[in-house]
């Protein structure tokens, strides 16, 4: 049996022309407001394909996080709908096959990296068994294998609070992968780590995207788009989508113009 290559070593094979336009998930004419007065999202429609990394760019407060939460089913749109795409069958339907990584990563700091990754197996593990802290051998070895692929197997027994920013990002990715998702939603994923670590993490995410898991990443950093995104979506500060295309069709300067 050939060993699975490390995610770090997978070259970023980013298709410049996405032919597979099958949908993973779609937001259709979505309106959303937190207070019932001012709309955070205004008539937003977005189709996320089954492959590649889609980057959702927008300034702070443009509604990127809200859109991600709507995709995950953590929020309900006031108007419009979020529909699972036709290709959404790999691991259940709707939000079940979607892993969500919030901006702050949402890791349990007082637990170990392995414990955090194992939380991705909750749905596969009986409640009583998981409460006793005894995940099945298959889940445990899978979690260890994922941590190994992410390059932090040696840190699996470390508490998250003792890990560096980049290592925490990897644990969060590990927990997402453990859910065997068809789509990973990552919110402002690399905005709080240094540039070199951010590149490593994006490289890793790019590797995951080429292996059949669609990724939707929100960011406000325009410089990472050209290198890592397969598709580009730009949101205005008014909660609307102002541009959608394959990456590379816009220069960094043009993206910045759109964000203004």
């Amino acid at each position: 049996m050939v060993a699975e290559p490390s995610l770090q070593t997978i070259p970023a094979r980013r298709p410049r022309h996405i032919e597979d336009q099958a949908l993973r998930i779609e937001a259709r004419n979505v309106w959303f407001s937190y207070d019932g007065k001012s709309n955070v999202l205004k008539d937003v429609s977005l189709r996320v394909p089954t492959v590649g990394m889609t980057m959702l760019l927008g300034r702070s407060g443009s509604g990127k996080t809200t859109l991600l939460k709507l995709f995950k089913g953590l929020l309900e749109p006031q108007s419009g709908c979020v529909l699972p795409g036709l290709a959404f069958s790999a691991n259940g339907s709707g939000a079940a096959g979607i892993a969500y990584i919030p901006q702050t990563l949402g890791l349990v700091r007082s637990l170990t990296a392995l414990d955090n990754v194992l939380m991705g197996a909750f749905k596969r593990t009986g409640v009583v068994r998981s409460l006793a802290g005894s995940f099945c051998r298959e889940a445990t070895s899978e979690a260890k294998e994922i941590l190994g692929r992410l390059g932090i197997a040696h840190k699996m027994d470390e508490r998250v609070q003792r890990l560096s920013g980049g290592e925490r990002q990897r644990v969060a990715i590990g927990r997402a992968l453990m859910q065997k998702p068809s789509l990973i939603l990552a919110d402002e994923f690399v905005s709080q780590i240094d540039a070199i670590t951010a590149e490593e993490i994006l490289e890793m995410m790019s590797g995951i995207a080429t292996r059949g898991t669609a990724i939707l990443v929100t960011t406000h950093e325009t410089d990472v788009v050209a290198e890592y995104a397969d598709r580009l979506v730009v949101m205005s500060g008014m909660g609307t989508i102002v541009h959608e295309s394959l990456a590379g069709s816009l220069s960094e300067r043009e993206i910045k113009e759109l964000l203004r």
Binding site: A96, G106, V108, R109, S110, L111, K123, S130, R175, Q179
Partner: protein
């Protein structure tokens, strides 16, 4: 928020006025009583010294019983408090469950520990068992409140992220709420134990066992030197427990993480 100088001054005058009015209404400003009170206090303080050490062996038995009452009462209180605290946590349950739970905990908290002691002396009979049950119920009133407030302090993004993995409510409690609140749970439990030693020390006043039984006897027989020995013994034990609890907190795993809000300060504020 900073108050403008004129309103800060106005607030100061208002508080001072209210304080004076309250002192007057409870006869604290009756100067004719101040001097005799000071003289009585001085006489009482004088009669406490020197402490009578002959009663130490007798009091040790009472003190040990007090410690047992506090220990059992605190543990029983913890066992009852935790599920109540989960049910009172708004990030875990809807108001349909949290509101009645909080009302129930609040009702328990309304009754002073000594009154709970009397209730259990009536129900269970004289002795330390009644004291332990009284302390347990008193503990529930405070610990459940302190705990559900700590549980609600757990980062909502962590709760949301783990919930989004498909975690059930018990899994959220086991893997997020308990580990993230471990520091607060332990700190407040140790604080409560220390507090309960003092509460248990007076349980004997109502026949619910412990060193309080001796204290009441010495008070009634005006044997203040012996009372002083009992007070010193209680003080020493409380200080020792305080020191030990600080040591325990320092060596427990996961305790090095600074709490979002100082649990001990929160506990003291609530208990006051």
């Amino acid at each position: 928020m900073t108050l403008p100088p004129w309103s800060a001054r106005g607030l100061g005058v208002l508080v001072a006025g209210l304080a004076l009015l309250s002192m007057w209404s409870i006869d604290l400003l009756d100067l004719s009583r101040v001097w005799p009170a000071a003289s009585n206090l001085a006489e009482f303080a004088g009669s406490l010294i020197p402490p009578d050490l002959d009663v130490v062996p007798t009091l040790l038995d009472g003190m040990l019983e007090t410690l047992r009452i506090a220990f059992v009462g605190t543990l029983l209180g913890l066992v009852i408090s935790l599920p109540l605290a989960f049910l009172g946590t708004r990030t875990l349950f809807s108001p349909v469950i949290t509101t009645p739970t909080r009302l129930f905990v609040g009702a328990i908290r309304t009754v002073p520990s000594l009154l709970w002691g009397i209730v259990f002396v009536v129900a269970y009979g004289l002795g330390p068992a009644a004291g332990a049950l009284g302390v347990a119920l008193y503990t529930v009133g405070y610990l459940a409140k302190l705990y559900y407030e700590s549980f609600e302090g757990v980062d909502p993004e962590v709760m949301e992220a783990v919930r989004s993995t498909g975690a059930s409510r018990p899994q959220l409690v086991r893997y997020v709420v308990l580990p993230e609140s471990a520091n607060a749970i332990m700190s407040q439990l140790l604080f409560m134990f220390e507090y309960n030693i003092r509460a248990s020390a007076i349980m004997g006043f109502v026949g619910a066992g412990g060193i309080g039984f001796y204290m009441l006897g010495y008070l009634q027989l005006l044997q203040y030197e012996k009372l002083m020995t009992a007070l010193l013994m209680t003080f020493t034990v409380v200080m020792a427990v305080d020191y030990l609890s600080a040591r325990v907190r320092a060596i427990l795993p996961g305790m090095e993480r600074p709490a979002k809000r100082a649990p001990l300060t929160a506990a003291i504020t609530t208990l006051r």
